[in-house]
Symmetry: C2
Subunit: 298 residues, 2 copies
DNA sequence: TTGTAAGCGTTATCAT
DNA sequence: ATGATAACGCTTACAA
């Protein structure tokens, strides 16, 4: 009987299974943008651990919009996902997030384990790293190199992560009794860095160093500066945060954030199941000095 | 009645729906490595189109191994995926791909639309671009710049894509009556480029130009060369293929491949359904000259 | 138009 | 142990 079934290529319907057990072997990860290596690394961590346990990963791109996240949570709920991991941070001003919070609560009641890998405005298992200190650490390092006039290229407005990193920068600057108010508008993309560079260039007063909200923006600053003939790191030092792959390509000074481990840890929590003891965690980061920063000797 | 249902936060179980309709609103995309921007772009294209039609995308990482792809096809089949898109190319030597072919055939019989976005060894709707010509075009461009000693850093052994791109390089070289046999072993990652650079460096005879299987390897070559004090593009020109984001970061000469459109097209085919007329397609690529190549004037 | 019943492929329960 | 049966939540076909 079973022999024939196998010959015929039988495979149990996951749909039927899920219907009766009220849960599927699906783990959803909601990211801001899958092309952004920051999220790709996290997703990769989730998938690798989930995969070895026979779970399948659904990566959902939310374009960093709360409304889209909501749609994804609902969809994942309809498939009775075993777990949902939120890879991106929320907005400080909670716009439209009551609905999200409700949907998340509902998913949890339905048995999904939801874990956040960035600061979020709703209850969930939280696994993260210290954004504020990460930013503090690069800034402190750049200061230790002798730089005084240091600019900060900010992230998207309203994002909790943007805020935390900005605070870290400012705290380090204040602790060194330097001007912590030299900020530039930004974002998370290369173009923001390019713009920041051209703003500084056209203002005519180049700083000693610039620190950006993330690697991609830092690379934009780097590119914009070098394009205009400004030597990095000889004339201006540049540093980022995250240590995503591209940072190595340009040998960018940055701080390594445990992106992949965040995903691995999130998946582990989900695989452990709803009734396992939940433990929030804060993973360590690490300063990675490379070749876009140099000692100030002027 | 419906009012109360809504108040109570009712949402139909996709599991129940799928069970009876024998299909789900899931589109699976099987990629080699989600952290590789090549695949991330494709996945992003799939997800954006799928998402607007209420379909949800499952990104599955196969580590470029046929066995893992097989596991994913089976899993996707168990969830009665509406469609499966293969983002990576297959191996020329068909190792262990009979089982894959069987699983794919089964999935198709079960109603899944399967589309390949790279050369594959099993029947499926195929949407692609011309790898051979893309490689030919960059090579031809580099030759037109006056270079004669041009090296090619190869891709992973056995991959159909690697082979096609190599052929394109060699055809262009032969057409210009240049030595088409100056090949270096490689892969798809930065490190391969670094190694290729150090191989050339230690051999002591630098070429006029080097073309790599993809952008990341090209960036590795670039970095390795510059690190050793070799000026790019003044002394050696470097070019890649794909035009992924990092290529812009280093202003790499490359050929733009319609990655995102590939995903969009694949998703469209799936959304059109099984019984829609299937049309294989070949999308256009475009040479993108940037600042890592220059005219030879020695 | 509205309502009822059957069945999708599992798992789990309950007799045998 | 083993085998029959109900139930999971939905869609659809058919009857009223």
């Amino acid at each position: 009987v079973l022999a024939v079934a196998n010959e015929l290529g039988y495979s149990p319907s996951a749909l039927g299974q899920g219907l009766v057990t009220r849960s599927s072997r699906i783990i959803g990860v909601i990211v801001g943008d899958i092309v952004d290596p920051y999220f790709a690394e996290i997703a990769s961590g989730v998938e690798s651990t989930a995969g070895t346990s026979g779970y399948i990963t659904m990566v959902c791109t939310a374009d960093r919009r709360t409304a889209t996240e909501l749609a994804h949570v609902r969809a994942l709920g309809e498939y009775r996902a075993a777990g949902i991991v939120f890879a991106g941070s929320g907005y400080a001003d909670h716009r439209g997030s009551e609905a999200l919070a409700r949907a998340v609560a509902q998913a949890r009641e339905a048995g999904s384990v939801v874990v956040s890998v960035a600061p979020r405005e709703f209850p969930s298992v939280s696994i993260g790293y210290d954004n504020r200190t990460a930013a503090y650490d690069v800034t402190d390092y750049v200061i230790s190199l002798g730089h005084r006039d240091i600019r900060f290229v900010q992230g998207p407005a309203g994002l909790i992560t943007s805020k935390a990193r900005l605070e870290g920068f400012q705290a380090a600057m204040r602790d060194a009794e330097l001007d912590a108010q030299r900020l530039l508008p930004g974002g998370f993309a290369f173009e923001s860095g390019l713009e920041a560079a051209s703003t500084m260039l056209s203002a005519g007063n180049l700083p000693d160093a610039v620190i950006a909200i993330n690697d991609e923006v830092a690379i934009g600053v780097l590119t914009g500066l070098r394009h205009a003939g400004v030597e990095v790191p000889e004339r201006v030092s540049v540093a980022g945060i995250d240590d995503t792959r591209p940072a190595r390509f340009v040998e960018l000074t940055t701080v390594s954030v445990p992106l992949r481990d965040l995903g691995v840890a999130a998946a582990s929590v989900i695989l452990a199941g709803v009734d396992a003891p939940v433990a929030d965690a804060v993973l360590p980061h690490r300063l990675v000095p490379r070749r876009t920063t140099a000692r100030r000797d002027r």
